[in-house]
């Protein structure tokens, strides 16, 4: 029997652990994180889940990366140059990168991830973002050329976006996709050593990492779905950092002496998706609905003033943002617009209003407050609660009501992914099906010149607001609480990366 298992030792340890387990912190080079949802699996190409990106980025690398201010920076790819027509993009890869199993990363792995695997493996979400890839020509172990069937102006951006993680060709082909999703191998700063579905994820530092060595050796990601339990966990010291806390709790934790709590605006927009028919067929009604909403009051009431009121489909600091454009809160104007169409507080226009409850902080409360604001000007909204996974299904069947409260995440900040994706009638995100704007959006997807497309997206965004095709509300916030002596790099898109954490 080992000393650890001896009766006296065992009893002593049992007593100590039972008495004060929460006081036992693992080590100074270890961190426990409270995370709100599990990864859908460890195949990073398979599912687009924004919340899982920070965890994927610990185990896998992307060809390009984003700096905290969202600027694209070299990563596995050291040089890239999209051709003027947007149809090809030569890339150079690092030559000092190895996967966790010791195999060297080469252009063959790049071709496999972004071309061969997409064609051969059904059901990968990444296939939808790289549909235009016609071929990837491998010139040498560190050089390749991506070729597209039509202009792909956002190809560089997508190399740092959802699902674009480099996977090892040899290993995936050897073990198969199922086994890979259980025991993944990447080139990232951490190796996955344990994954308990809905329980926890344990990562250990990859000491052969090609990039900066993370300060934290062992990272335990505890999946805690209940927001109150995440608050209790960080407050009691059972975890070192917790994210996505209720806003009021985050504000309260700012008063805790050992904790630092933050509410940071990120590149996620809370908006109302609207239809261009039914009760919203009339532009006057849609515009009245926009002017009737006091967004500053919503931010004050539900986000402690941290959520920036928005009047466009872009967040401040991103390329599509227009400093000189806003839609003002003006209930009198809203009443006038409604009166023009024969409606008013005494004869309200009736619409359906869908919302999620618990998908993002205060969503249902937000919908109720908006319905109250509308009621004052003459819009009577019937609130219906829907589950988030049903949004796309309802939209495909044209079954969404006139307005739907929605949260759209765009970690890149690129205007095509904000304005283009939210207004393209061929994509599943928007219930707005009018082709007047729709055709302009589709055409702009093929413009490769950066300055032209930024200007184009701004013009479309402005036009959409002028006809009430969307009702942006607020810039969403990331709430986070951490032990005061744990530092973490703040990213404008809300990433919370274990590799940037360190004890001070």
């Amino acid at each position: 029997m080992t000393p650890a298992a001896s009766r006296r030792g065992f009893l002593a340890m049992t007593a100590a652990t039972l008495a004060a387990p929460s006081l036992v912190r693992a080590a100074d080079d270890a961190v426990t994180i409270a995370w709100p949802s599990d990864v859908p699996g460890w195949d990073p190409n398979q599912r687009f889940t924004p919340d899982a990106q920070s965890l994927f980025k610990a185990v896998f690398d992307q060809p390009l990366d984003q700096a905290p201010d969202l600027k694209l920076v070299p990563h596995l790819v050291t040089r890239w140059e999209l051709s003027a027509d947007g149809l090809s993009m030569p890339i150079d890869l690092r030559d000092d990168v190895v996967f966790h199993n010791g195999e060297r990363m080469t252009a063959d792995d790049f071709r496999f991830t972004f071309f061969e695997r997409i064609k051969s493996t059904p059901g990968l979400d990444i296939a939808n973002s790289w549909r235009k890839v016609q071929d990837i020509e491998v010139l040498s172990p560190t050089k390749a050329v991506m070729r597209f069937s039509s202009p792909a102006p956002t190809a560089p951006v997508w190399l740092a976006f959802l699902g674009s993680y480099l996977v090892p060709k040899g290993y995936v082909e050897q073990v198969g996709a199922q086994a890979f999703a259980q025991k993944p191998i990447g080139t990232g700063p951490y190796r996955l050593v344990e994954w308990e579905v809905n329980g926890r994820i344990v990562l250990e530092r990859n000491d052969k990492y090609w990039g900066p060595r993370p300060a934290i050796r062992r990272v335990t990601v505890q999946i805690i779905k209940d927001p109150s339990a995440r608050v209790a966990a960080v407050q009691s010291g059972q975890v070192d950092i917790a994210i996505n806390l209720p806003v009021r709790e985050a504000v309260r934790l700012q008063g805790e002496p050992k904790l630092a709590a933050e509410l940071d605006p990120i590149t996620r927009i809370i908006l109302l998706q609207v239809r261009n028919d039914l009760g919203f067929e009339d532009a006057n009604v849609r515009l009245a609905a926009h002017h009737a909403i006091d967004k500053a009051a919503l931010s004050r009431a539900f986000y402690n003033n941290a959520a920036v009121p928005l009047s466009q489909l872009a967040t401040p600091g991103t390329p599509g943002y227009m400093d000189d454009f806003s839609v003002r809160f003006d209930p009198e104007l809203a009443k006038q617009l409604l009166a023009k169409s024969g409606f008013g507080p005494d004869k309200p226009v009736k619409i359906g209003f869908a919302t999620t409850n618990g998908q993002f902080p205060s969503d249902y409360d937000l919908a109720r407050a908006i319905a109250q604001m509308w009621k004052r000007v003459g819009i009577e909204a019937d609130i219906q609660v829907i589950e988030y996974p049903k949004y796309f299904e309802l939209n495909r069947g044209h079954k969404l009501p006139e307005a739907t409260l929605y949260s759209f995440d765009n970690a890149t900040g690129d205007p095509e992914i904000f304005v283009g994706y939210m207004l393209n009638p061929k994509l599943p995100f928007s219930p707005w099906q009018d082709m007047t704007i729709g055709q302009k959006v589709i055409d702009l997807f093929n413009v490769a010149d950066t300055a032209k497309r930024y200007a184009g997206w701004q013009a479309i965004d402005r036009e959409a607001m002028e006809i009430g095709a969307k009702i942006p509300l607020l810039q969403s916030v990331l709430t986070l609480a951490r032990q005061k002596n744990l530092a973490v790099t703040k990213y404008a898109n809300g990433w919370v990366l274990p590799q940037t954490m360190r004890w001070t």
């Binding site: 387990p21 809905n198 926890r200 805690i224 209940d226 966990a233 589950e387 495909r396």
Partner: protein, 337 residues
């Protein structure tokens, strides 16, 4: 022994049609939900053609009876379909999560039994005295607080205010344990990791106590009334006349007879307790079947809901069989029949 085997065989035979009926009811109910599993298993930017192809691939374009037959054939071969959300085999997901829930439910049952039997004896002891009303009030209070409220109270009290016990997950972050059986307490012992065992036990304490305490008052009350009934029997009076002490009468003569209805109740309670793990697991971030079910329902993950639901049904039937067998072992009169 033959009687027990006969009973088990009979219960197994009746369990099969029950399972079949439950599976049909669940299958039909889930298919009636306004949810398209094919659309939900595709990425948001999939086209309508992609979804139609997926629907054909999943057999959703076939009549409901054919769909059920396909599912049943798969289930009989151990294939319960793929989780829409996790895109993994639903059977594997359930098998991986089940030991954690069984472990939690068993520990909770131990706590409920200790509290219930101890409390029942105490209530019986207090009968007729001034404290009887106080005891009754205590059990009423215990009965009226549901398990999830105990769970929240314990988190607040022992996790946050007096941070003496962990309430997140089932193991401290500093430990890693090789899973052999899936039952963490056993696996830590098999690995000779005493500290990890202590950590797992500490993590189990609050959720098990929350579940156990909620189920203990019913046991207390049934045991007390069982003892009250037994104490009216002649053999108790005769034991007293023979000069046997009260303690011995209670433990040796009264308790074995009074405990039989209590045991049956505990069996029934265990079924409820197993279902009660659902909310407690979510609150304690405990990676068991309940957590999996809540996630599956939230994501309308029909294959996973069906598999977890069926597993609950099987577990409850197995518990029923075990309790019946146990009652048969303990009660010679039933064996004689």
């Amino acid at each position: 022994m033959i009687a027990i085997l006969f009973l088990l065989a009979r219960r197994l035979l009746t369990a099969l049609p029950i399972l079949l009926t439950v599976s049909i009811l669940m299958f039909v109910a889930l298919r009636l939900l306004p949810v398209d599993p094919a659309a939900m298993s595709m990425p948001p930017n999939a086209t309508n053609e992609d979804i139609a192809a997926k629907r054909r691939e999943m057999g959703l374009d076939k009549p409901l009876t054919t769909q059920y037959a396909i599912w049943l054939r798969g289930a009989l071969h151990g294939d319960f379909g793929r989780s829409i959300q996790l895109r993994r085999d639903a059977g594997h997901l359930v098998t991986a999560a089940l030991p954690a829930t069984i472990q939690l439910a068993l520990c909770a049952m131990v706590i409920a039994s200790v509290l219930g039997l101890g409390g029942g004896l105490l209530l019986f002891h207090l009968r007729g005295g001034a404290s009887e009303a106080l005891g009754d009030l205590g059990t009423t209070v215990l009965l009226s607080v549901p398990e999830f409220l105990w769970a929240l109270l314990f988190i607040l009290l022992f996790g946050v205010l007096l941070p003496v016990l962990p309430f997140i997950g089932q193991l401290g972050p500093q430990f890693s344990v090789v899973r052999v059986t899936g039952f963490l307490l056993i696996d830590t012992l098999l690995a000779g990791q005493g500290s990890a065992f202590a950590s797992a036990l500490a993590h189990l304490t609050l959720p098990a106590a929350a579940l156990g305490i909620a189920f203990s008052p019913a046991i207390m009350r049934v045991l007390r009334s069982g003892l009250l009934d037994v104490y009216h029997e002649d053999y108790i009076r005769q034991a007293r006349l023979r000069g046997i002490g009260e303690g011995r009468i209670l433990i040796v003569h009264a308790l074995p007879n009074a405990i039989l209805p209590t045991l049956t109740l505990m069996g029934v309670q265990f079924g409820f307790l197993f279902g009660g793990t659902l909310l407690v697991e979510v609150l304690y971030s405990y990676p068991g079947l309940g957590n999996l079910m809540v996630d599956a329902v939230r994501n309308a993950d029909l294959p996973l809901i069906q598999t977890v639901g069926l597993t609950y049904c099987i577990v409850v039937l197995l518990i029923g069989m075990t309790v019946d067998a146990l009652v048969l072992v303990l009660n010679p009169r039933l064996r004689a029949r």
